[in-house]
Symmetry: C2
Subunit: 356 residues, 2 copies
Amino acid sequence: MDLDERKRKILQAIIRNYLETGEPVGSRTISKYTDLNLSSATIRNEMSDLEELGYIIQPHTSAGRIPSDKGYRLYVDQMMLEKEEQLNQATQEVREMQKMLLDREDKVEAVLKQMAKMLAVNTNYATMISAPQVRGNKLKFIQLSRMDARQLLTTIVVEGNVIKNDMIAVDQMLDDETLLKLNILLNTNLNGLPIEEINLAMIANLKQQAGIHAGIIADVMDAVAAVIKDNENVVIYTSGANNIFKYPELADNQRASELITTFEEKQLLNELVQDTLTDESGTGIQVYIGNETPVKTMKDCSVVTATYELEEGMKGTIGIIGPRRMDYDKVISTLKTLKNQLDTIYKKDDGENSGI
Amino acid sequence: MDLDERKRKILQAIIRNYLETGEPVGSRTISKYTDLNLSSATIRNEMSDLEELGYIIQPHTSAGRIPSDKGYRLYVDQMMLEKEEQLNQATQEVREMQKMLLDREDKVEAVLKQMAKMLAVNTNYATMISAPQVRGNKLKFIQLSRMDARQLLTTIVVEGNVIKNDMIAVDQMLDDETLLKLNILLNTNLNGLPIEEINLAMIANLKQQAGIHAGIIADVMDAVAAVIKDNENVVIYTSGANNIFKYPELADNQRASELITTFEEKQLLNELVQDTLTDESGTGIQVYIGNETPVKTMKDCSVVTATYELEEGMKGTIGIIGPRRMDYDKVISTLKTLKNQLDTIYKKDDGENSGI
DNA sequence: ATTAGCACTCCATTGCAATGAGTGCTAATA
DNA sequence: TATTAGCACTCATTGCAATGGAGTGCTAAT
């Protein structure tokens, strides 16, 4: 028994209907719904087969059928193929966002936040968006400035224009000349260097050259180390978590509580981001159905993600989280177009807007 | 008819019992619960009076009574007075936090985040905490550094050690001397100046002195303006939003959805923060019961807040959000001790850790 | 002033029957 | 041989009445 054209059509009809209603769908509905002109009895037989094949599930005897993860998966894969050929014309939602992106010259951060919100409102699903994560970690610039008698301000800039500041306490006031020397020492030795390559020997060397100011070097190196650490936990914005209450299958206390925690402790979402960034399927769009997602608390959800890239190596993830019966069609095409917008728009004015 | 000692005791007993069970409490329960040795009939009469006075409410005939906002208010006010006299000894929870505070020399930001989490776990309520808001806005330091041929890095430091960076695009490479001149120009004119006092005339003057580099001055001033704007929307961390699901009276879809949105769009919580910061009652602890809170979506909650102060003028708010029947006693004393810890601990190492 | 006692109210629970959507199977049909 | 009509059966849902219990308010007795 294999999945012939007719079975496929029936499966699709079941899924379509279930996406709309959220209720198990019965044979009679399909019999009328489709243009196959088959009686409900025939449909029943086919459904029985589809269930045996694992594409649909019967919640209990005498109920209709609902799609299984496997069923959804087939449906989505099929759709992705069709989409590929379609002209990728911007939907209404995307056009709105496009407008927003172009209007603003705000910081990337603000745009992303706004975008998450907009997506959430437009799709009625929860959304998340990770700020672009820098991979190349070359030091670009280090500077010490005197704030007052007892404090130095460190400014560290890493490739990708990630900037970090830190205050360093000093025992005694440094004169301008010493400060200049230290700045030159740091920059000539460290600029252009990937942070990973800074080793103990190098630090020892710097300290020696700094003489009595070795302590300051140590503090600066701590600050540099903090940059790496800081980069690891990516900033993630979420929006529309409340949307889960619109879908009864997610809205019971147990599940809702778990999901809300997941959105609040954005830490958990990080796994998702990492997963999308590594495992690239080519299109940049990924669909996780039910248990497929790397985040266990989302086992009753489906997640659609898009990976965007601003400048070389600055990658981030947009994710839409909804019930299994989400409107994959709309979500996928929205994300696809949005991703394209981000990929292209920001690449043009190279860097200009990318201070985080 | 006034509120005599006995009525007061009965009211207290009703509230205590309701705090525990969350169910309307009847006369028989009180009769047995208290050491007043009164029959249920007597209690009934008293309860009837209390209801007439507005301290308790009967959800429907033949149900027990639950406290009204007015009832809670009396209870809380009374407790606050008693607390005042009590030796303010650290509870178990606070001791844990104290330890945490001392162990870490992380950034304030990280400590606050952690603290919110810890409070949420320990109290089983939702928590929020606002990062210290700076009031004095004096410019302390401005610096332009050359990143590369086409980009300048602006570093702006405001009193309270709030640091902000920005990239400025330039048409052509600036030589060291010009850069130095610009830096001196900016610092001599602006340092020590409250941001609000920078006016158009001053800017015009600066631009004139900068000559062909007037454009850069404009960009820097934009960055300074952004600092103010940035300061306005305070950073607020939340934790334990999921705790609302532990209280049936908050966990129905409608209410939960609203509350979750409130926590996610931290913007709304800002009103609360502003309210606490202005209206100081002296103790630094404030209790909003039900409709008393400035945030409408929290009308079915009670909110207890504490205002802490790090350095002079750096004030923030800690808030605990739970059901009306929250354990006011525990919450208030926890917050009180915590506030004291923050007020004192951080004042010692003046500034050292306050880079945001 | 307090309390015992009683009638009354109202909610929540339970059991039961009716309903209806849906299935699986069988026998008839094209 | 594939399709369909028909029928018996299952099971969740709904409505309804009965029941019990928690609690009140009132009155009369202490």
